[in-house]
């Protein structure tokens, strides 16, 4: 019975949504639609928001990756919130699973290939992850993918050492310091510039590593934070006490 009702509801939703989106007349080109209005001064612009980003991001932020410029600079506050969502989830997981951790887990020898392979691969994983988050303002990627790559290295460690966890305290300290760094970089914007998260460092030479002001700093903080957070989540989900 429940399955029939569920099927009817989801098919209805599918039909309505598909019909709506297929017949919608939204402009496919951002140059033809959406000339914005500044809500405070009520000034009309003859451009749309994405056009403005594409035109000005080089001048405003110095980052060649426009998506990064939006994520970290123009809409940087969202990203602080995003980091916080992950942090909240990691904290919640630790809160729920702390009691359930066990000291002695059934001990199976991992596969030989996994064991030897991990020693070979692990340094490369860490290097690639670090590269991705350091070059977030120049190439696709950034703090989140880079941190996730590093966390995959942690996952490999957890798979190889079947009866051990990760150094929880060290991860937690890294996470805290990285998070505080991000918030502090933002708060310093109130001191050295005018607004929270406003850039106050020199923009440097376009497309060079040392450019784009606070963006690389923030992405390095995010990289450390995401790596240690995801590592902590994996550690908690494995449910083994450290050492």
């Amino acid at each position: 019975m429940r399955k029939i009702v569920a099927a009817i509801i989801s098919i209805t939703v599918f039909v309505i949504l598909t019909y709506f989106f297929i017949t919608s007349s939204a402009p496919i080109n951002y140059t033809t639609g959406g000339q914005y209005i500044n809500p405070i001064t009520h000034e009309h612009s003859n451009q749309s928001v994405p056009q403005q980003y594409l035109k000005d991001s080089k001048k405003d932020t110095g980052a060649s990756n426009v998506v990064t410029a939006i994520v970290v600079e123009y809409r940087g506050f969202d990203t602080l919130g995003e980091v916080t969502v992950l942090f909240t989830a990691a904290t919640g997981i630790a809160l729920l699973l702390d009691e359930l951790k066990r000291r002695n887990v059934p001990h199976d020898e991992p596969n030989f290939i996994v064991k030897v392979g991990s020693i070979v691969v692990l340094p490369f994983i860490v290097v690639v992850g670090t590269y991705i988050f350091i070059h977030g303002h120049l190439t696709p990627g950034g703090g989140f993918p880079g941190g996730a790559v590093i966390a995959s290295g942690f996952l490999l460690l957890l798979l190889v050492h079947t009866n051990r966890g990760l150094p929880e305290r060290k991860l937690s300290v890294t996470e805290s310091i990285a998070g505080m760094t991000y918030a502090l970089i933002g708060l310093l914007g109130l001191v050295f510039a005018h607004e929270f998260l406003e850039n106050y460092l020199p923009l440097g030479t376009f497309t060079y590593l040392f450019s784009a002001g606070i963006i690389p700093l923030i992405y390095i903080a995010i990289g450390f934070k995401v790596g240690s957070e995801l590592g902590g989540i994996l550690h908690n989900l494995k449910g083994v006490h450290e050492e």
Binding site: F20, Y36, E82, A89, D98, L187
Partner: protein, 462 residues
């Protein structure tokens, strides 16, 4: 007067929550005073922000140094400032009840701070996607708080909340995608200025998507299936916190959606119908319940329905009623959830607990001179002036049902938690009761900002 950038209300608690694990490593005992200090600081910021709004009528902050809609805008109007004060001050008062308790987890305190900050974020932001992000922090934190009792019921309630919450957030994203597809912007007031260029159906669909998403958090029928289970599974203090923070933020988001984002008449009608359903179903379900926490949860749903009815009248007096009802609900429900931790009819003989509980119940069922009375009174006046007698009948019927089950609860009810009430909890419920009495006796201090909030919202502003 010092002017406080509104962003500090969010950035400071985030920073302190990131710092908390280090504090815990130094001294486990310091965590609770530390959290209380952070919440106190945030309450002070909220009050300063409220005063600033009173002198400037609206406070803008352009984050990252870009003008809106290029950058994210924080905009605090009267309604945002009122709710920011309510959320922060009450979160602090409810946190007092944790002192002297054996449970001592830094993680719990961190999530508590984060959810307070993000609920505040929802009420002060001026950007649609930013609001979505804060919604998610609130939701993820609430999932953790609900499950923190680690019983079967807690996990069940939390899981139900997670399922509905994630479906809701998918729908918020659909709404954002629809609006962005047409207008290429995410700022509330930029959307509001140009929403009429969208075709009729697109506006309606965007409204429905966003309503479904926000309705989960705001406990609107039929998306409130998680409410009774989550409240029943969580500890009394978490239930108390949920009813003052996240649910108020959800109602604020509905106000924003109805008045600013997509102000279409069919939207108000839809909200009115949903409000009536929420009210009637919530109150009738509460009448059936034997467990006190479940009964209070269903009563919360009913109150949310009443607030939604008041909002959807789209008139000044009804909106003032909604503000009073929101404040009354935040104060009285958090009081009742805290006070009924070990409730049975025998508790009534202890005046220290019975007094505040009695005040809370009186405010909820709308007896003078408590804020709940003012809320229902203004709502009735408005309904009568507009000649909507059928809705008056429904509201009166709901109030009678409410009176019946609260009377039964006072004289026969039994609590679900076996532990006895602590001194700090008594202190917290006393503070809440004093606030209820003060607002009830001096309604003009809430009335004046509420009038201005209504005027500003009806004029399409923040």
């Amino acid at each position: 007067m010092v002017s406080i950038p509104p962003v500090l209300l969010i950035a400071f608690p985030l920073f302190f929550a990131f710092l908390a694990p280090l504090i815990n490593m130094v001294s486990k005992k310091a965590v609770k005073p530390y959290t209380l200090f952070v919440l106190l600081l945030n309450s002070l910021f909220a009050i300063l922000l409220f005063l600033e709004v009173q002198s400037n009528s609206v406070v803008y902050e352009q984050l990252s140094g870009f003008y809106p809609p290029i950058g994210i805008l924080l905009s605090v109007g009267y309604i945002g400032a009122i709710l920011a004060v309510v959320i922060n001050v009450l979160a602090m008062v409810v946190y007092i009840s944790y002192f002297g308790d054996v449970e001592n987890s830094v993680k719990f305190s961190m999530i508590y701070m984060l959810v307070t900050a993000s609920s505040t974020g929802i009420v002060i932001t001026g950007d649609l996607f930013n609001m979505f992000v804060f919604f998610e922090i609130t939701a993820v934190g609430s999932y953790g708080l609900v499950a923190s009792m680690r019983t079967k019921k807690a996990f069940e309630g939390a899981f139900k909340y997670i399922v509905l919450g994630s479906v809701g957030s998918s729908f918020i994203l659909l709404g954002i995608a629809t609006i962005y597809g047409y207008l290429k912007t995410l700022n509330f007031y930029d959307i509001a200025a140009r929403i009429n260029t969208m075709p009729e159906t697109a506006r309606l669909m965007a409204f429905i998507f966003l309503l479904i998403g926000i309705g989960v958090e705001a406990e609107i029928f039929p998306l409130n299936g998680w409410v009774p289970d989550a409240y029943e599974g969580s500890s009394n203090r978490v239930a108390s916190f949920l009813s003052l923070g996240p649910s108020k933020a959800g109602i604020y988001a509905i106000i924003r959606l109805l008045f600013t984002l997509v102000p279409i008449m069919s939207g108000f009608t839809l909200a009115l119908i949903l409000g009536i359903f929420t009210l009637v179903i919530g109150e009738l379900a509460a009448l059936k319940q034997k467990d006190v926490k479940r009964m209070l949860a269903y009563s919360s749903i009913g109150q949310m329905g009443l607030i939604l009815i008041a909002i959807s009248m789209h008139s000044k007096f009804a909106f003032i009623a909604a503000v009073f009802l929101m404040v009354s609900h935040a104060l009285a429900k958090s009081l009742l959830f805290l006070g009924t931790r070990n409730y049975d009819a025998g508790t009534l003989k202890n005046p220290w607990i019975a007094g505040p509980i009695f005040i809370g119940v009186l405010s909820i069922i709308g007896m003078p001179p408590f804020p709940g009375f003012w809320g229902k009174w203004y709502l009735m006046l408005n309904l009568a002036a507009e000649g909507l007698w059928s809705i008056i009948l429904i509201v009166v019927f709901a109030a009678v049902v409410e009176g019946v089950y609260y009377a039964r609860f006072l004289f026969k009810g039994t609590g679900s938690d076996a532990r006895s009430i602590t001194k700090s909890e008594v202190a917290a419920i006393f503070l809440l009761a004093i606030m209820l009495v003060l607002i009830g006796i001096f309604p003009q201090y809430l009335y004046t900002p509420a009038v201005k909030a209504a005027a500003s919202l009806l004029g399409g502003g923040p």
